[in-house]
Symmetry: C2
Subunit: 244 residues, 2 copies
Amino acid sequence: MQGELEAALSVIARVQTALTVAGRTDAGVHATGQVAHLDVPPDALTPEQLVHRLARLLPPDLRVPAVRQVPGSFDARFSALRRHYRYRVCDAPWGVDPLRRYDTLVHYRPLDETAMNTASTLLLGEHDFAAFCRHRAGASTIRALERLEWIRDQPHLLTAHVAADAFCHSMVRSLVGALLAVGEGRRRPEWPASLLRSTARTSEVTVAAPHGLTLVAVDYPADDQLATRAQQTRALRSAHPLTD
Amino acid sequence: MQGELEAALSVIARVQTALTVAGRTDAGVHATGQVAHLDVPPDALTPEQLVHRLARLLPPDLRVPAVRQVPGSFDARFSALRRHYRYRVCDAPWGVDPLRRYDTLVHYRPLDETAMNTASTLLLGEHDFAAFCRHRAGASTIRALERLEWIRDQPHLLTAHVAADAFCHSMVRSLVGALLAVGEGRRRPEWPASLLRSTARTSEVTVAAPHGLTLVAVDYPADDQLATRAQQTRALRSAHPLTD
């Protein structure tokens, strides 16, 4: 996706600058609230012209709803305060609505969202999420999980709302996999949090399929705080190299 | 779709009876509220068992959310009082949300829904919709259009809500095609209704793509009215053979 967007921009705006992306999602994960930035020359197209040209050039699975000029201190990745994800699971005995099967996991057994929310609450706060992360050499797996909540939007549709300053690779999908085991009654609500004692990824957790996951929003501070935030994040990352 | 469902039922319930379907949609049209009936032997599986077995046997683009026993006088096609359709159009300059591109038409030029609703209102009531119908030998094209209304659900998402006792082949898509021409400003709001004077299909109307259209509901009378309604519909259809 990032490569396709960079290629389209190089055709349209004749800029070869690489994009900086807020949340580098795993393959198969969707993003409705992705944010990216790039530097363009002063004589570039207007934001409206860019939107129109990109709409015609990009494949239908990649859309750019808005383009705007930002302060020079804005960094899509390092200025971000937090990322918001959603994970959709349908537990109807008949399966998932065909029109939403692209972004919804089908789970034929009924899920107990009360147990899942009990387990989710125990995971909130700053922890080493090593058990839930794909290991990357030299990268920290300490994260501050700010929200993890399951809401039954429709009789058979459960949505997990997840927010943190940043996430490790496959972290949300691993948390969801552990919580589905709780929802099914195969594991007790205390089990996912008990894995936080682990310092390495555990094979006990099944990573939930990527297509149920969507990056829905990225929060940024006010314009006058962008530079400070980017500086803080960069300092933190050099001490504890993080993925997003 | 009907063939796939009949094949699955013949495997599961060992019944070779053909299904009777409420709304036989054109290829590429979706249905979230389709209704069908069939006769099963008294020793057949329970409705719950059928739902479970069908979920495992049917392809992911075909789901049966509910099965239930109905009075012997119920006829999915002839007992129906009316069919409800929706047509989704996105007029954002950047195109359509990738996750909804399967059931939403993309229309890059902005649409004026006030003009479209003015034109829609003029089409309501019982008319000969020949100009908007694919001709079928011996079939009437007289229909009672009960609802045709455009609602802008989101800044760039327009949904047409359409209801009638029954529809001819490609009728909703032709109406939508004519109304899009009004919404763009290429035609005046009086134009679609002026075509009702025609007794044959007109080449002036572009049939809108099927994937924006969904059959969302079929209305039936109370159980004690099912037989009377089916009788009435059958009498009407033999006088003026209709498609649904």
